[in-house]
């Protein structure tokens, strides 16, 4: 790439298009490394996307980036790697995301750390900036949301801020790409050492603290001779900060001075390292008991002072008025809950109605046409029947089912959900529901992960990382399965239409069926609260921790970008995982219904064996077998039920042993199921059981990855099954009693 440095129009945006070569995902090599840090909800991900051209999803709720995202771009002949850290308010490492962010700034050796700051909330944001400045010299502050600041009548002086902080400050509006050029150039200068900084460091602590620091610093400098900021290390050690203690213990601290980190430095002797820790422990005894509070308050005072020097607030608060009106409505004691239910119902309705047509089109294409064509080709090639059956009827069909049933509703649900998220509605939902969660002993942010679960439970489980308290996070993980996920909606809708919608006159059928499905979803929410409450009274005992949640300003959602990002990073990822798990399920289904033991297939044996148990809880053997083979993907429950019903009852229809199918018309499906012995009771129970049973294998796997505990994974898996069996049993017994 030719050097463009002497080009006279370097600052215009056309130039950026040339100098900024987006390299997409992380390259193997890079010339320098940028870490992006900042408070939650300040537009860090927007800056990241502007730089890398990636479309990482940017959500309008705190803690969106729960893991760090990486990307890269080329700038002025350099390959630059960017790491987007989770948004945090501080680097105290109190929660998973704070730990990730802090460890990276400390040990990830970024060449420059760009701190994205919300210009409308300078004071609070500066707290994090100051903490980062204590760790590293190479910092650039990006003063984002300058447009919002102007609208809210806040005048800022970036030059003054730069002078106060001692590091470059670049103002801009990342959404519109303003200031990105300047940010790039400045980050480049700082990273390459072309610009030296003199970061502000809070000078004097309280006298006792200051005494302890001055005694500890020489010890640290003696052992780690080139540590960049011994004062900070001393303060953290006095604070008994585990990450820093560990860095001293392992000698990793010595590798932090990053001028020449190509060559590894000799690690100080173990006894020397222990000496540092021992001195810190000894000095800690001499500190006042409220030492921690003193240090914290000191830092916040500094942030406050700087903020007051550089900003002027006008009286214009017009921008907040609309927000306030909306909040009055959306979090109103009277309208809050009904509106929430209404929005939930609209989202579901749009998903269900909108998915109908594309789902049946996909089914026609993949199942009727492509499957028929593939079978024709296989037959003409003389493929043995068992291989053709295994591959096409088993593996291919199950995958095709998953795609045609799952893709359309997800492609509608996730963008809708994302729009609500972008707009800022989800934190309000969390706020509305918080008092209920508190009574259940759970965390208010569980509302966010619960909503996410309506799309996909695995996604909901990952989202629980925003919850700091491990106890409350476990509760959120275990109970996420009670959010009726997309994979289970189709079963609910089909069964409700056939058996419940049929109870009323035809014109009301659709409405009643929809109401029944929403009823099941609400029942799921009730069960979620109930089991959260039970867990926090028994195995996960504890009080709800104090909770405060920032309600971000409403922001107009960007529709096109939302569509794109939510399709790419939610829909397709979730779909891919489902396909991966559906393939073995298809194989198992086909094999079990084609391998004979005696004169019955394995599947038929299993159905017969489970039938008494099934009937006891108002289901039947077919349904139980279908749920067992459908553990990998809930979407294939209905096709499997139909196939097994034909297999075991011998009713005419179907495509042959082990071939999943669905009938073209809902009435025909109803006839087949009734022939299989289904009643209204069976329908009610299957709807309940579909809500209350083990999570799918993707979710189970995700739970294990998140908790790293076989015990809690088993609890999360088995508890809902036990509840489902109990509820179905009770419903059946009461029903039979009433029916006489």
């Amino acid at each position: 790439m030719p050097s463009l440095a002497i080009d006279p129009c370097v600052s215009c945006s056309e130039h950026r298009e040339q100098s900024l070569v987006r390299l997409g995902l992380s390259p193997d090599k890079w010339d320098y490394l940028i870490a992006l840090a900042g408070n939650p909800n300040v537009g860090k991900s927007t800056v990241f996307n502007q730089l890398t051209g990636l479309r990482q999803h940017t959500g309008n709720w705190p803690g969106k980036t729960v893991v760090r995202a990486e990307g890269a771009f080329g700038h002025k002949d350099n390959r630059v790697k960017v790491v987007d850290l989770p948004g945090t308010y501080s680097l105290q490492a109190g929660s998973v995301d704070e730990e990730v962010a802090r460890d990276f700034v400390l040990f990830g050796r970024p060449d420059v750390t760009v701190v994205v700051v919300d210009a409308t909330r300078l004071e609070r944001n500066l707290n994090l900036v100051l903490q980062i400045l204590e760790i590293t010299d190479r910092v650039v502050v990006f003063l984002n949301l300058m447009d919002e600041a102007r609208r809210h009548g806040i005048a800022l002086d970036p030059k003054r801020l730069e002078a106060e902080l001692g590091v470059p400050v670049v103002p801009g509006t990342a959404r519109d790409g303003q200031g990105i050029d300047a940010l790039l150039d400045t980050a480049h200068e700082v990273a390459m050492g072309g610009r030296t900084t003199a970061p502000y460091r809070p000078e004097r602590q309280a006298p006792e603290v200051e005494r302890a620091i001055t005694r500890l610093v020489p010890v640290i400098e003696d052992v780690f001779d080139d540590v960049p900021n011994a004062r900070w290390v001393a303060l953290r050690l006095l604070n008994a900060d585990e990450a820093v203690q560990e860095a001293v213990r392992s000698g990793e601290l010595g590798q932090l001075s990053r001028e020449d980190f190509d060559e590894e430095r000799p690690v100080p002797e173990p006894e020397d390292r222990q000496r540092v820790l021992d001195s810190a422990t000894r000095l800690r005894w001499e500190l006042p008991p409220d030492f921690h509070d003193l240090v914290t308050e000191h830092a916040y005072r500094a942030a406050e002072e700087i903020a007051q020097k550089v900003q002027k607030r006008g009286l214009a608060k017009a921008g907040f008025d609309l927000d306030r009106k909306l909040d009055e409505l959306l979090t109103s004691p009277i309208f809050g809950f009904p509106l929430m239910l209404f929005i939930l119902a609209v989202v579901f309705w749009l998903t269900i109605e909108g998915a109908n047509v594309p789902s049946s089109m996909l089914a026609t294409l993949l199942i009727d046409n492509v499957h028929g064509w593939l079978s024709g080709v296989a037959t003409s090639m003389g493929t043995p029947w068992w291989l053709q059956g295994f591959l096409l009827d088993g593996v291919y069909l199950s995958t095709a089912w998953v795609i045609s049933v799952m893709l359309p509703p997800m492609a509608i649900f996730f963008p809708l959900f994302t729009l609500l998220e972008d707009f800022g509605y989800l934190p309000r939902v969390a706020f509305n529901l918080d008092s209920l969660f508190q009574k259940a002993g759970a965390h208010g942010k569980q509302a966010l992960t619960m909503c996410m679960g309506f799309g996909c439970n695995a996604a909901g489980v990952v989202a629980t990382r925003v919850i700091d308290s491990p106890r409350e996070r476990l509760i959120a993980i275990i109970t996420n399965n009670f959010s009726l996920c997309n994979g289970r909606w189709p079963t609910q809708i089909l069964i409700a239409t056939i058996f419940i919608g049929a109870l009323v006159p035809a014109e009301l059928g659709g409405l009643v069926a929809a109401a029944a499905v929403v009823g099941i979803a609400l029942f799921g929410i009730v069960m979620m609260f109930l089991s959260s409450w039970l867990l926090s009274r028994t195995v996960l005992r504890g009080e709800a921790t104090s909770f405060s949640l920032e309600l971000p300003p409403y922001r107009p959602p960007r529709i096109l970008q939302t569509l794109y990002t939510s399709v790419i990073d939610r829909t397709l990822i979730v779909l891919w995982r489902a396909i991966v798990f559906a393939i073995p399920a298809g194989a198992v289904i086909w094999l079990s219904s084609n391998i004979m033991i005696g004169d019955l297939s394995i599947a038929a044996h299993a159905v017969e064996w489970l039938n008494p148990m099934g009937l006891l809880i108002g289901l039947n053997g077919v349904i139980l077998v279908a749920y067992i083979v459908a553990i990998p993907a809930n979407e294939i429950v209905i096709p499997t039920v139909l196939m097994l019903t034909v297999l075991t009852t011998g009713v005419a229809g179907g495509e042959g042993a082990g071939v999943m199918f669905e009938l073209d018309s809902v009435p025909a499906t109803g006839e087949l199921l009734r022939a299989g012995g289904w009643t209204l009771l069976t329908a009610v129970n299957i709807m309940l059981f579909s809500l209350l049973h083990n999570p799918c294998s993707t979710t189970i796997y995700t739970i294990y990855k998140e908790t790293r505990s076989a015990k809690w994974t088993s609890v999360a898996t088995l508890m809902p099954v036990a509840m489902g069996v109990t509820v179905c049993f009770l419903v059946t017994q009461v029903w039979r009693l009433l029916a006489g």
């Binding site: 308010y89 501080s90 105290q92 109190g94 409308t120 909330r121 004071e123 609070r124 707290n127 809210h152 806040i154 921690h292 509070d293 914290t296 308050e297 916040y300 406050e304 907040f320 927000d323 306030r324 909040d327 009055e328 979090t331 109103s332 004691p333 809050g336 809950f337 934190p427 969390a430 706020f431 509305n432 918080d434 008092s435 209920l436 508190q438 208010g444 700091d468 709800a544 921790t545 104090s546 909770f547 405060s548 949640l549 920032e550 309600l551 971000p552 300003p553």
Partner: protein, 95 residues
Amino acid sequence: MQPLPVVQKDEAVPELRLGDVPLRQEVELISIDLPADQAEPLLERGVLPGCRICPVRSSPGGDPIVSVDGSLIALRRETAACLCVRLLTRFQEAT
């Protein structure tokens, strides 16, 4: 908007908790009566002793939303009851 009640700032003014402050009454935070680990998230969000804080709404469940430094923060009632505040006189309010 109604004029704010004028309160003399002296020792006789009884200590108030944020939970008892009526909506839209701006107050000054004196201290946070919570253990450090629970006070920390509040400090991080800008709820610092000395700051102006104003309850703006209350949730369907009766928990307050307060406005601090231009942002809205939802608190639990129990938390609000641990924040000691004092009323501002009209003159201080005007600044």
